[in-house]
Symmetry: C2
Subunit: 238 residues, 2 copies
DNA sequence: CGCGTCTATTACTCAGACAATAGAGGTGTG
DNA sequence: CACACCTCTATTGTCTGAGTAATAGACGCG
């Protein structure tokens, strides 16, 4: 991308409060249906002003995690209302170790979306988009997935494909899927389970997209995600 | 669902401000990169307090529509950062007539996600989930898509299938897809283009899921969405 | 012409008050 | 005793006004 994601942003209190509360909620520390302490009490407890606390709650409400009503208070929404596709919510889910079925669900979603996206991208990709995939692939090879640069390149590769579908809602899944890629990859390396080098898999996808071969792109991407799931499964202890 | 969606909620100022601004942004009234007027000026212009205005901005920021930084001000984010899968953002996009390629993209996404979801649901659905689909189907038949009740039943049907995949991230797409269903259906009827009765298509999907036949469920759902796209296409003037 | 410094602008944070709402519990009436 | 209605209170919502912190851009210096 054109700018670094986590640089230059000063730490704002309402943001960090939202993050802390969000993590607590998605990790089950506050169960759905539970009501948070009142604004005055809770904001005092957190040592912040009521305004800052309220802004944090508004952010969580915008992501579907909580609902506020007068007199009733602010309560954690039922899980079905959570916006799990929101990149931030997904990131919060990976702060603590997420439950194994959840990780599996993410791969299942990737297995549905990414092969189809690769097929579309094979037909619609523009030259600059292709160049971006090539660049990402090259960076992956140079740095390896052990380095932050390499992982960034991995995410860029997947993101570029979704972007190349020319489908805005699909592209919106890009941030979700790259987040999933990021956390699962980091997860694997945290466990010191060094997997196969996935460079060949990525290369096959790229070749198919470059050739404009939709069917082959779909197959190659299916293989890629399946193998990534296998790698992760061994780490999850199956 | 267990509760009415739009009932019992008192109109809160920050919510309506967020809605108005959100609509203005997604409809292109504020271009990406444009900076909004300063907090003090803009809140005065909107005749609300700074707190209410700020809470509205926090909500928009949580959905990726704007970014605030000191000195720079609050500016509209680039479209790629927008969380188009957020149900509210999607709803805002349909307040004004959305561009035709966007509607088409939504159907393209549904064509990717829903058949796969139907296939999963055919294998994993529980008896209560099946009952909910049956109920929704029945309601659709009784009320017809011309009535709000019938449309609600249509959404419930699609929602129930996504829920029955047992995949939480996929289920999160439920609110997005039902929103898409809702607006495109309303759109068709607004144009007085009364389409075929889609009840048979839905019935075929249900039968396949009830029978546990994943392949047939996938095909039936593909047919359903394709036909819905055709109906919408004629309205869009092709 | 490059680079550090200064300043003005902007969002951010805080504090305290009042309004509006909804639930609880009491009250009156049949 | 049952039930509808009313009041009362706790909680979020809204407003005002002030002060703080960060930073983009101007400015001056080497």
């Amino acid at each position: 991308m054109t700018e670094r994601p986590s640089a230059g942003a000063a730490p704002r209190i309402h943001t960090s409060i939202a993050r802390d509360l969000g993590v607590a909620i998605v990790s089950g520390q506050y169960q759905p249906g539970a009501v948070l302490p009142g604004e005055i009490e809770f904001s005092a407890q957190l040592k912040v002003s009521r305004s800052a606390y309220r802004e944090a709650v508004r952010m969580l409400a915008a992501k579907g995690l909580v609902e506020s009503r007068t007199k009733t208070g602010t309560r954690v929404s039922e899980r079905a209302r959570w916006n799990m596709l929101d990149p931030e919510v997904l990131a919060w889910a990976f702060v603590n170790e997420p439950p194994e079925p959840f990780v599996r669900s993410l791969f299942e979603m990737r297995l549905i979306v990414e092969p189809a996206a690769a097929a579309l991208a094979a037909v619609r990709r523009t030259e600059p988009q292709l160049a971006r995939m090539r660049q990402a692939l090259e960076d992956m090879g140079r740095h390896g997935l052990g380095t932050p640069e390499g992982r960034q390149a991995d995410q860029d590769f997947h993101s570029a494909i979704l972007l190349a579908t020319g489908n805005e809602p699909l592209a919106a899944l890009s941030s979700t899927i790259t987040a999933a890629v990021r956390w699962t990859t980091a997860f694997k390396y945290r466990k010191n389970a060094v997997p196969r080098d996935p460079l060949d898999d990525h290369g096959a996808v790229f070749a198919a997209i470059a050739a404009g071969d939709a069917a082959r792109a779909r197959e190659a991407m299916t293989a890629l995600v399946s193998l990534a799931l296998e790698d992760t499964s061994t780490v999850l202890g199956e």
